[in-house]
Amino acid sequence: MAEPILSVRNLVKHFPLRVGVVFKRVVGHVRAVDGVSFDLHRGETLGVVGESGCGKSTLAQVLMRLEPPTSGAVTFEGRNIFDMRGAELRRLRRDIQIVLQDPYTSLNPRMTVGDIVGEPFEIHPEVAPKASRRQRVQELLDVVGLNPEHINRYPHQFSGGQRQRIGIARALALRPKVIICDEPVSALDVSIQAQVMNLLGELQTEFGLSYVFIAHDLSVVRHLSDRVAVMYLGKIAEIGTETSIYEHPTHPYTQALLSAVPVPDPELRGRREVIRLSGDVPSPVDPPSGCRFRTRCWKATDLCAEQEPPLTLRLDGSDADREHPSACHFAEPRPHVVA
């Protein structure tokens, strides 16, 4: 396989917890991302799913180099992004872009759409000479399905879905290679969500983009992703192709998560076996020893408290298509239920 465009190795991001007003003492760390590794290939979409607090948005921040990591490396086209300085870093800023969740707060209300989408050119003037910028912005608006004549309007004159399109146009302005989508459709209504998902799909084909697609909605992630990583408390529980994760999950957390998704079909009511997890996600300040999921897991034994299960392939000699790394001592497919 070709060299991955983005490769993440043992990425760790801990935030210190401080108390005290004048003399601040560090009393602990929020282990937001705690040893995450994956590869993103060219033209691929890697979905990252997980519940709130699992570290998926912190992951996005670190991948964007908005936050320095505690340790670990992220290589973009063969170079560690945390070693980059000067011109190289500027170039990286062009190549990796982000689309944020909330189209209401991520656009400056005092700037026109033209200024918002054109602002990246102020910082990277080499991409579009001043004279052609207005035209370029109009092209971008057209690409994302907005009326190019609306270039002088303000964000409040647009609906939520249209605002998300503005955010996507801004991310596309510098012709990036990778776009990190952090919950890009979760603030949108169902009918609008579908429009934006279609747009992201079209743009990927048209511009050969690679996506890291972060979301908590499992059906949205499934629809767009080639491969999927499931996160729990700062770690990847299971990673594999979309089919292997959704059809043959082996980690109990993935199994529970998938079973809990309500299915929009009343005919299946009561016919699906739903795994009910007890309790809430533990605090990332003081995660459980060993396997982090053990406090809510029905398979947990003493081994799970003592030894942390590594994210590895657990070969059982079956179908190679289904084989994928899973971080569970007792990883095994669940007898199939209606899904």
Binding site: S191, I192, A194, S219, H223, L257, A260, V261, R276
Partner: protein
Amino acid sequence: MSASMSRVDDQPLLVVSDLQVEFRTSDGVAKVLNGVSYHVDAGETMAVLGESGSGKSVTAQTIMGILDTPPAHVTGGSVRFHGEDLLTVSPERRREVRGSGIAMIFQDALSALNPVFTIGFQIAEQLRLRQGMTRREARRRTIELLDLVRIPHAARRVDEYPHEFSGGMRQRAMIAMSLALDPEVLIADEPTTALDVTVQAQIMDLLKEIQDERQMGLILITHDLGVVAEVADRIAVMYAGRIVEEADARSLYRRPAHPYTEALLDSIPRLDLKGQQLRTIRGTPPSLLNVPPGCPFHPRCPRAAEPCRTTLPTRVALGVGRASACHFAEEVVSRG
């Protein structure tokens, strides 16, 4: 009478009919509700499905009598609870019904709870004020309620503040609060939207269980087609301040009778459509300040024809408990 009123002799528990609400703003008058009618019976789950701005929450707030006036003005219709029109009774009577007759839980538990009082105080307050309990009695009952909604170590956590609870726990506390006065109807406005899927499943289970036990009528307001499919008995679909379709859950998903419902169901990502374009609804919901003439859905409707542009469709009854506000309802429902 509309098709939703299938029974004549004994009235359903709560009947909303022809509700009209407008918001008078500096930009003009927004007709937020244009004749909304639905009903809910004891032990029944009525789901109100709609996108943002469709008026589903405003209907709930009108039922509860917690609309902010101004800008909101109720200009017509009735809300009959046990036959008594709550829109015409005295404010004192309204307060009596609120909480003990009809209670409500909100989407965002963190902003619905007061951060400076303990969870226990906020639940006990209504028991003391409304049922005249002593502090000690109220505290005991509060702990029972927290136990009922399965908050672990209820006796200890009763003295904690909202910020010390996780999202799921806060939602449980709010359910406990809404149950304190033993309401007959519970309105749940997007009760699980802010929660993760695994917690969402726990909360929906809990609501279902409590409802079965107490034979409460439940009005579930949501935009989530998955949640509705799991719990609803009947569904009302709202669009631009109107109910465009009403049906039992199975019929609605199997054979929608309104193009909007049809399109909504089509826009859910589905397994068999992986990698393909999702079917979308073109355009965006209309501004309520400027609702299109004729059928408000016609600019986005794939089936729109001449009458849709000029004439507002009336509700067409399609068998028992089914109705659709579309000129072509019969065609839509009989499509394959």
